[in-house]
């Protein structure tokens, strides 16, 4: 057990990062090997200019405005989940460095920084997690059950597990960010540092599950992070 934990602390993170970026690059490379579409497969209405179409695709990608119009409930599930994820990711910057500039600008001390992070982090995590349960429940509902395959459950349960282990640290522990900074700086510089004890036992589970996610990410449906905008441009070609 200790060996496995050691691997997830000090060895697998490198593999996960390499597979994540390498895998996404490989995915794009595989797409580019395929022949181009033999014609324009536009959907109308679409903006006239090329720039207009790109902007429209990006706006649609970040707001899902097309989905909002036809299925508000699914839009809420998908959009709020992604928005929460974005906030959570921004918050995780504090695991590696800190918003020193922001704290200085606001003239906030340690106490205020901590209170703000606790409140904002909990809200962001909630925005991320509750829609995940909705999306999971939806997998068994009505016609969606015909469309549900093992991958869908795997990805949803993985994300939920990551969220819950994160909540454990957020709500039940007081994590010293300096410990995290030291640990990750150690990983980045190959001068390994002791594990962040203040984060408690959930840390290794959280950290390991994220690595599983990163390794899986490029090879399944999650590659829509890149593919969705490419597909949108086909519909606006």
């Amino acid at each position: 057990m200790a060996t496995i934990a050691f691997l997830f602390y000090y060895v697998f993170p490198y593999i996960a990062v390499a597979v994540f970026f390498g895998g996404l690059a490989y995915r794009v490379y595989r797409w580019w090997q395929k022949k181009l579409a033999p014609a324009r497969f536009s959907l109308f209405p679409r903006p006239q200019s090329r720039l207009g179409r790109l902007l429209d695709a990006l706006v649609d990608m970040f707001t899902l405005k097309g989905l909002l119009r036809v299925n508000p409930l699914l839009w809420a599930g998908g959009f709020i989940m992604h928005l929460g994820l974005l906030f959570v990711l921004v918050g995780h910057v504090r695991a590696f460095t800190d918003f020193y500039f922001l704290w200085k600008l606001l003239n906030w001390g340690k106490e205020q920084q901590h209170t703000f992070s606790a409140v904002a982090g909990t809200i962001a995590g909630t925005l991320f997690t509750i829609p995940l349960f909705y999306l999971l429940a939806r997998r068994w509902s009505g016609a969606v059950k015909w469309l549900s395959v093992p991958e869908d459950f795997f990805v949803l349960l993985l994300l939920i597990s990551i969220a819950l282990t994160g909540f454990h640290m957020r709500l039940l522990r007081t994590v010293e960010v300096e410990e995290l900074h030291r640990f990750f700086a150690g990983l980045a510089s190959f001068r390994w540092q002791p594990v962040p004890e203040s984060a408690g036992p959930a840390f290794i589970w959280h950290f390991a599950l994220v690595q599983v996610l990163m390794v899986y990410f490029p090879f399944g449906k999650l590659s829509h992070i890149i593919g969705s905008v490419l597909s949108k441009m086909v519909a606006r070609s």
Binding site: L36, A39, F44, R46, P150, E151
Partner: protein, 416 residues
């Protein structure tokens, strides 16, 4: 099983199709989009499920490997049931692309269906009748010289009839003459008469194509043949030195003309403008080249956006402009434009007698839409839709009349 299907499919997976297979998250937004699914409740009609079926077959590669990875990717040998589902998924689709509008990634199920149909055809599971008509359109160009005399005779008779009935002694229907506009009709005089009148009134320099706009090879996914059939028209246009090719009110043909021809013919089209005849007539009206009796038809009417003119070619406003010019009581269907329900008869099904029941069932959302407006006339701009809507009206006792937008204009023309 299905080896030819899979081999053909593998060769024809283009970049967008690969995106679609890889990124579909099976969210189910498309479930409510498909008129086949909402009327049948059969999973093979859900757009995402159609995509999943093809993906599953491509991944298994026929080796039926099991194990954990096999379970995870849901592979397995193609079973009888799977083949039956595949045929349902690929042939019972009108290619209307309403699901693409619903999809948060704009995935084009219709494109995959189109490619899949061609692959099924290689396996001997095609729509023979549609493919045959497509072949006839391809070979027509080779024997056009032999057909010409007969065609010209028929057109001469038709022109004579219009002159007498309409009382315009100098109306002509030019065939194979150099002109500004080449008008490409669909089969049947109903596609020629209104335009002969409108072109006459607009004093347009025009000529009638000896070919038809329809391109059935496109429906069965045979793009090579579709290109050949359309190329006869390009040749004719270049031979006659026309500046404008105008396609009749026909959905799939208009879509290929406007969206695919650049890729198919490229430089051959330099100096030739391509339009739907609906756009051309709208421009006459706007420029004052023709005059119509405002409010000529005091009948409640509505407009059905054909999928291929609407969301697939972007012609939304011109038909409405034509209708408003002559109608007193025009009401929109709900939903309309890019969210309009498909009539249920597209994708070549009209030409396949076996498909009658399938399309009658799939047309139910359309019937309900029309009933809600209380319209007596349904105006549309696609030959396929017209046939399907007339069949629906009869089957469901709607009692509506189906009109083309250019028919309305032709019947309300003021000729001086």
């Amino acid at each position: 099983m299905l080896t030819k299907f899979l081999d053909t499919l593998r060769q024809r997976i283009t970049r967008p199709l690969q995106y679609y297979q890889d990124i579909c998250v099976r969210c189910g937004a498309c479930i409510d989009a498909c008129h086949f699914y909402v009327t049948s409740g059969h999973p093979a009609h859900i757009p995402a499920y159609r995509m999943m079926l093809v993906k599953k077959l491509l991944q298994q590669g026929g080796n039926g490997r099991k194990g954990l990875l096999g379970w995870y990717r849901e592979t397995g040998m193609a079973s009888e049931q799977m083949v039956a589902e595949l045929r349902k998924a690929l042939w019972e689709c009108t290619g209307c692309r309403r699901c693409s509008v619903f999809c948060p990634f704009d995935l084009d199920t219709a494109l995959m269906v189109n490619v899949g149909r061609y692959a099924l055809g290689q396996e001997g599971m095609g729509m023979e009748m549609v493919a045959e008509i497509g072949n006839a359109e391809v070979s027509k160009g080779e024997i056009i010289d032999a057909l010409k005399e007969f065609f010209v005779d028929q057109v001469r008779e038709l022109a004579e009839r219009i002159r007498q009935e309409w009382g315009v002694p100098d109306l002509r229907i030019p065939v194979d003459e150099p002109a500004r506009v080449l008008y490409v009709p669909v089969v049947g005089e109903h596609a020629i008469i209104p335009l002969a009148k409108i072109f006459h009134a607009a004093k347009e320099s025009w000529t009638l194509s000896m070919f038809t706009a329809t391109n059935h090879s496109f429906f069965v996914g045979d793009i090579e043949k579709a290109k050949q059939a359309a190329h006869w028209i390009v040749e004719e246009a270049r031979r006659l030195g026309v500046q404008v090719i105008a396609y009749a009110e026909c959905g799939h043909a208009t879509r290929t003309l406007l969206n695919f021809w650049d890729h198919w013919f490229g430089e051959e089209l330099v100096g030739i403008q391509r339009v739907s005849v609906v756009q051309l007539v709208a421009s006459y009206l706007q420029e004052g080249r023709i005059q119509v009796q405002p409010g000529a038809f005091d009948v409640p009417m509505t407009y059905h956006d054909p999928c291929n003119l609407g969301r697939n070619a972007g012609i939304y406003e011109e038909p409405r402009m034509l209708i408003r010019a002559v109608a007193t009581d025009f009401q929109e269907l709900t939903p309309n434009r890019e969210l309009n329900w498909c009539c249920g008869g597209g994708g070549g099904m009209i030409a396949e007698p076996d498909m009658l029941e399938v399309r009658m069932k799939a047309g139910r959302p359309k019937v309900e839409q029309i009933q809600r407006t209380g319209a007596r006339w349904v105006v549309t701009t696609c030959e396929n839709c017209k046939t399907q809507l007339a069949d629906l009206s009869e089957r469901y006792g709607l009692g509506v009349e189906i009109k083309g937008a250019v028919d309305l204009i032709a019947d309300a023309l003021i000729v001086r």
